[in-house]
Symmetry: C2
Subunit: 217 residues, 2 copies
DNA sequence: CGAGGTATTGACAGTGACTCTCTTTTGAGA
DNA sequence: TCTCAAAAGAGAGTCACTGTCAATACCTCG
């Protein structure tokens, strides 16, 4: 658990049909292996918990060697924390008109992206979020990723507002947004039962409202 | 690096004169040891970097056994991340009149607490913050602590506003505040030269303004 | 002041997440 | 089918911990 090596190249995650056709055998096997590892891991985490599951066991369950697991996922945490929506949000955000105030733009960008993330693989997404919520190491690591997201958002926002990327106000806006959204997401998980997308969207909407209102209660 | 065991009991951190008199030899030695470890660690981190400094070496430099290091600091990260100001902020926040809006109350509470933290041991504080800024593992761990702080803030705010602790709006307000303040702090470090307290206060003030303004640029 | 109990320490033997290096296997292209 | 490069496996090594056990140091009470 040291540096943050980038996740291995891997475009589609849980999408077998669409783009699988035109890839060579090699590429297809890579996707298979990565999925085998992830699925094995989720299965074992579910049964015995994250901390109680050594990587060697995941490797065994996935029928690969331990070294291969680390080749695909630089850290154990990355098996859970492979996310593909950061760039998606940035892209969507960039597409919003520059005249919109930041919070409004984010609102639109999010409602687009959330839907896309969810109908990809809803149950695994849910399982992942729950793990992140419960395992300290994952939570910590995910904050790190959020910081990364923060920088992405900042870039997009700065560009929209025609300010430098490291502008203090831009950074503060993104920091606050991310903080608020994270709380909204966790609150969604904490409220056990309601795990539908619309529930999440409602929470996010409320979060953005609070932000626009100047954090008054 | 799993659970978050509480740091060992140790009230004063870098204050030899005042309360040192009435403690037994045992207690005094404990404080000495803990300081020896911390100082040895900071020295080595400065020279060769955090990641490149094994705990065994810190132990050697501090002239204690490796096991003793772990007895004092449950993880290597904790050597850097022992913070005492979280409860301080909460207490100060609680003392503000309930009629004040959240952001205003935080503004006052912060200007109180920041000063107190800083004139305790300014140079070590600075060194610590820089480490946190630069070492991913520390950053991640510190976010975890922030989440804890978040809960403290939420508790104080909820009480003030006479709402339940897990109220969504309360959580969002605290999340956003923490996010904004973290960015302000990092921005302070990034702006290399200006490491005075008043500079930080200025940044914090701007951050709070942005929040009050509803995150507009 | 000295005996006895307890807190603290050190030595040591794990475990588990990585890292590195080296060899073997296996798709891909000629 | 042959060759080359990418990928997988094997194995040794590092380092952050964890748990146990025996030795030592303070403290308290007689």
């Amino acid at each position: 658990m040291r540096s943050m090596a980038p996740a291995p190249t891997e475009s589609a995650t849980t999408v077998p049909p669409a783009p699988a056709a035109k890839l060579g055998l090699r590429e297809r096997k890579k996707i298979q292996t990565s999925q085998a590892i992830r699925h094995a891991a989720y299965r074992l985490f579910e049964e015995q918990g994250y901390d109680a599951t050594p990587v060697d066991q995941i490797a065994e369950e996935a029928e690969v060697s331990p070294s291969t697991v680390f080749r695909y996922f630089p850290t154990k945490e990355d098996i859970v924390l492979t996310d593909e929506y950061d760039p998606m949000i940035e892209e969507t955000l960039r597409a919003r008109p520059a005249s919109e105030p930041p919070v409004a733009a984010l609102r639109e960008a999010l409602s687009d992206s959330l839907a896309r993330v969810f109908d990809k693989d809803a149950t695994e997404t849910w399982q992942r979020i729950r793990l992140i919520r419960e395992v300290p190491a994952l939570r910590a690591r995910m904050s790190e990723q959020s910081a990364e997201t923060c920088r992405l958002l900042a870039r997009a926002l700065a560009e929209r507002a025609d300010r430098p990327v490291d502008d203090l106000e831009v950074r503060i806006v993104t920091g606050a947004m991310l903080g608020a959204l994270t709380e909204a997401m966790f609150s969604w998980i904490d409220s056990g039962g309601s795990k539908t997308l619309t529930d999440l969207e409602r929470l996010v909407a409320r979060a953005l409202n609070v932000l626009e209102r100047g954090l008054t209660l």
